[in-house]
């Protein structure tokens, strides 16, 4: 069966600096893949290559059987692959509802009634229906990020990409966003998630991808990866996180 997303020997560099090095990856429909790794390992870049914000210089990218490259009409692809950013980037000069309806009405040319119904249903589901006429600056970070997720969902994508979507949030707002993503996963959405939230990764992922230096260093199911990392790099990486979780009490003078 053809995978929904397939990368073969995919490479990308910025100028002379290689960022992705002959990456091979298959993502099946309905799979939730979480990508972990130290900063600079290429995980964000990988995501951005999937919706055409960056282009690779070697290797192949296939989506739903079609090859995507420099000649692709990315507008079409981007309606089917949605992306949510770390800094949400809602359109500040538009209300919440206008943010949600811009894509469906202008890009997909759907009927206003139908698009409105979908947007309001989604808002209802995350408990933000009363904010439909508010402007982004009137909302908290967690609320804005949830709206950003809805904005992507309103396009009816087949895949959702999440690029460190809780990294810029105050800690108390992280939960409400992660709950939305979990909910989506339970509904069967195909997702690629870049995150630092280890417990969340463990809970939501079907597969963990550990990246380091532009390559996939280790791939495994979450239980195996977290309790028994196979590679030295993965072990070192996880160790750093467990230190923070179990920080020893400071010695008194």
């Amino acid at each position: 069966m053809t995978a929904l997303i397939e990368l073969s020997s995919f490479s990308k560099r910025f100028g002379d600096t290689p960022v992705l090095n002959a990456v091979d990856l298959r993502v099946e429909r309905g799979e939730v893949v979480v990508i972990l790794g130290p900063s600079g390992c290429g995980k964000s870049t990988l995501l951005r290559c999937l919706n055409g914000l960056e282009t690779g210089h070697a290797g192949k990218l296939h989506f739903a059987g079609r090859e995507l490259n420099g000649k692709t009409d990315w507008r079409d692809v981007r309606q089917r692959i949605g992306m949510v950013f770390q800094s949400y980037h809602l359109f500040p000069h538009k209300t919440v509802l206008e943010n949600l309806l811009l894509g469906p009405l202008r890009v997909q040319k759907r009927s206003f009634g139908e698009a409105l119904a979908q947007a309001e249903a989604l808002l209802e589901r995350v408990g933000l229906l009363d904010k439909r006429d508010a402007y982004p600056r009137q909302l908290s970070g967690g609320q804005q990020q949830r709206i950003a997720i809805l904005r992507a969902l309103c396009m009816n994508p087949e895949v959702m990409l999440f690029d460190e979507v809780t990294a810029a949030l105050d800690p108390e707002m992280v939960k409400e966003v992660l709950e939305v993503i979990l909910d989506l996963a339970e509904g069967g959405m195909t997702m690629l998630i870049v995150t630092h939230e280890m417990a969340f990764a463990r809970a939501v992922a079907d597969r963990i991808l550990f990246m380091d230096g532009g390559v996939i260093a280790e791939q495994n199911d979450p239980e195996t990866f977290f309790s028994n990392p196979q590679t030295a790099r993965a072990q070192q990486f996880l160790e750093k996180f467990s230190y923070v979780e179990n920080m020893p009490k400071r010695k008194s003078p």
Binding site: R78, Q79, H89, L90, F91, P92, L102, R106, A148, A152
Partner: protein, 219 residues
């Protein structure tokens, strides 16, 4: 002296009005064309395509390096030589002021678009917006606030620079003033009037620009 001065202005009012109308026409037309051209320039340069960027950059540098008055002469004296066409001086002035004004407004627009957070562009692209939709729906509306005060300043400069049209023979308000001086020798009065005329045109614009800038300057 004052009363005869005011009397003279009153008597010459129709003439001065005709001249003022020419000045205002040149300024207003140039402002309109410069605004349209400037938005086009700013957006086109932001697209980042090499084949657009290089000629636009050359156009910008040409209008920066060559002073407006020189351009006026180039067009007025040079056009007939190169093309055999001769453009009336009024339209020479409008053409030069429009092109120069467009380069100035264009740089303001480009700077404004550039100063927007990069994520706005990416978020717009990620929901599948086309380039016209991206600029029309997302980027230009946001850039509008930071673009408006400097653009009003460019308008002020267009109005002031339109005074140079008298040097290629346009019968605008300065020329009319000079004609009146030739008859009456009231140079102090007339040039004083012209001073006031331009000041009253430009000052409200400068003041408006300042007010808007203060009101709209949020981090």
């Amino acid at each position: 002296m004052a009363s005869s001065g005011l009397e003279l202005l009153w008597v010459s009012a129709p003439q001065l009005a005709r001249g003022a109308w020419q000045t205002l026409s040149i300024s207003a037309s140039s402002i309109a064309f410069a605004t349209l051209g400037g938005i086009a320039y700013g957006v086109l340069r932001q697209l980042g395509k090499r084949w657009l960027d290089v000629p636009l950059r050359i156009y910008l540098e040409l209008f920066r390096a060559i002073p407006v008055l020189v351009w006026l002469y180039l067009l007025f004296f040079g056009l007939p030589i190169f093309t055999g066409l001769s453009l009336p001086s009024f339209w020479c002035a409008v053409l030069v002021l429009s092109l120069w004004g467009a380069s100035e407004v264009g740089e303001v627009v480009r700077g404004g678009l550039q100063s927007l957070p990069r994520g706005q562009r990416e978020a717009g692209l990620a929901i599948g917006l086309s380039a016209p939709q991206l600029y029309g729906q997302v980027l230009l509306p946001q850039a509008l606030k930071r673009i408006t005060p400097p653009t009003i300043n460019v308008y002020t400069r267009i109005i002031k620079t339109s005074s140079l049209a008298v040097l290629i023979g346009v019968v605008e308000v300065i020329k009319v003033g000079q004609q009146i001086i030739e008859r009456t020798y009231e140079s102090l009065l007339i040039y004083g009037f012209l001073f006031l005329f331009f000041f009253l045109l430009c000052y409200p614009l400068s003041a408006a620009s300042r007010v808007l800038e203060r009101r709209w300057s949020h981090a």
